[in-house]
């Protein structure tokens, strides 16, 4: 992928420099890949708390009488079953069942908030407009540039964030959200994230970004970059659109069966997905524990009896498991946990074992 023109910056650009971040080009955005170091940042999130600038992701608000109808047409879940103040993970599929993007959708009292990936913001917007019926009463407003989004992740995040709001966050359930006053300003707080830990995502007017960032950092949350975020989500078995799924993959192959609500004639992908479900899938995503010290990364081939049977979609060292791990698409017949497969790492062969996802699951108290 190539991007024209200068890199985009979030409202936290100066904050990243102040916090010692090393900035790289990520999907056209100048974003911090790390501050102190990826391994240290991963450990902070697993053991205490880390903050991430995720403002590069999209924030699309949908309002109007027909907004619910439109979302039910494009999302893999039944939005009518989602209560006010709740969030739902879902995939947006094209009419063939290929994955355009994965998103979280929040239902607020008078509108919906949809969070597409940074590189898919325009595509999702186009898809929404393209599926809008003539004369439909839907207003879509892209508030990505006027707002900041900061993730606070890790077991101590609830204590740290609670110091700065009167809202009782211990009562905010996972995948729930509230409008709250925090840091002396109006914010939206959701108990969601992309790390496998307890945590929150905060959305506020972009002008408040640096204040919120600094306050959280001073309260003991460590700045974390995209490098740590990628390790954390891989350990937690969370897929990354563009690596682990794209238009050539359907939600069943991606193991996202639980995020597709069936039998909804209004869903654009409904018919295709029903057919795929009926016929069954030939390949699916699995977790792999990889022998040896060489790191198997995106694109490495998976072998069985000398034949190439699949490819790694994401892979890397897991500091939490102290082993190299990967996700890969392989034939369903070979996807049973415990199956031994070969991996070709730049011509060097090593062995891998199929395991259930996720690799890492936090202990819930």
């Amino acid at each position: 992928m190539s991007f024209e023109g200068p890199l985009k910056r979030t409202s936290l650009f100066e904050s990243h420099l102040d916090s010692g971040g090393r900035l790289i080009d990520f999907a056209g955005w100048e974003m911090p890949v790390q501050y102190s170091g990826i391994l240290g940042e991963v450990s902070k999130v697993r053991q205490s708390s880390g903050i991430f600038d995720v403002s590069h992701m999209g924030r699309l608000e949908l309002s109007g009488r027909d907004a619910e109808l439109l979302l039910n047409r494009v999302l893999s879940v039944d939005i009518s079953a989602v209560d006010v103040g709740k969030a739902k993970y879902n995939v947006i599929c094209d009419d063939q069942g290929g994955i355009i993007d994965d998103c979280i959708v929040y239902r607020k009292c008078d509108r919906f908030l949809l969070i597409p990936n940074a590189s898919n913001r325009e595509t999702v917007l186009d898809w929404l407009f393209g599926n809008m019926r003539d004369g439909a009463d839907v207003e879509i407003s892209d508030i990505s540039d006027s707002t900041v989004m900061i993730a606070v992740q890790g077991p101590l995040s609830v204590d740290i964030l609670s110091k700065h709001t009167t809202t009782d966050l211990t009562r905010l359930r996972p995948f729930s959200a509230v409008d709250a006053e925090a840091f002396g300003v109006e914010v939206f707080i959701a108990r969601t994230g992309y790390t496998g830990e307890d945590g929150f995502e905060i959305i506020a007017s972009s002008s408040y970004g640096p204040l919120i960032w600094k306050t959280l950092e001073n309260s003991g949350a460590s700045p974390c970059g995209l490098g740590a975020r990628d390790v954390l989500r891989l350990e937690a078995g969370l897929l990354l659109h563009g690596s682990d799924m794209d238009l050539s993959v359907n939600p069943y192959e991606a193991g996202l069966d639980n995020f597709v609500s069936n039998d909804r004639p209004e869903y654009v992908a409904g018919e295709s997905l029903a057919l795929i479900r009926q016929e069954g899938i030939a390949r699916r995503i699995v977790g792999l524990l990889i022998d040896g010290r060489s790191v198997a990364r995106h694109g490495c081939f998976i072998l069985h009896e000398g034949e190439k049977i699949g490819e790694i979609s994401s892979g890397g060292p897991s500091p939490t498991l102290k082993q190299n791990i990967a996700m890969a698409y392989i034939p369903v017949a070979l996807s049973e946990p415990g199956t031994k497969l070969g991996v070709d790492i730049r011509g060097k062969m090593t062995q891998a074992k199929v395991v259930e996802l996720p690799f890492y699951k936090r202990v819930r108290l």
């Binding site: 890949v33 990364r297 060292p317």
Partner: protein
């Protein structure tokens, strides 16, 4: 030994020549910083023969894989096996505890093909500008 006493290759390896004609080899601070947390260093074994700018090994960080190239030719006489258990020494101390191999040089004039520290620093600045 200090970084300004080393000579550097365009592949970001350094070599420091001691009085016995043995070169101590590692990667530069800039290379270590660019790679980020190193998790594995695959090095040659004692007795292996290196050619100048030929492949010396491999290095893996959390984010990236990179090949290592020997800045000088000769025979490997010692390997820093501590890096097996503590690859992070490459990040913490690239010129001291994070050294990689010692090479008995075949031809000391190969050092003339390498950059001084100030030349290397300029080289890094220029390559980052592109």
């Amino acid at each position: 030994m200090t970084p300004d006493q080393c000579k550097y290759s365009s592949e970001h390896e350094w070599v420091y020549l001691d009085d016995d004609g043995v070169g101590l080899v590692g990667i530069s601070q800039h290379a270590a910083d660019s790679l980020g947390d190193v998790v594995f260093v695959d090095l040659p074994i004692v007795g292996d023969s290196m050619t100048q700018f030929g492949k010396m090994g491999e290095i893996e960080s959390v984010k990236a894989f990179s090949e290592l190239f020997s800045p000088v030719g000769g025979e490997v006489v010692e390997v820093n096996n501590i890096l097996n258990d503590a690859p992070d020494l490459v990040n913490e101390s690239p010129y001291e505890k994070g050294w990689m191999i010692k090479i008995k040089l075949n031809d000391a004039s190969e050092l003339d093909n390498l950059m001084t520290m100030s030349e290397y620093d300029n080289f890094v600045i220029q390559s980052e500008g592109n």
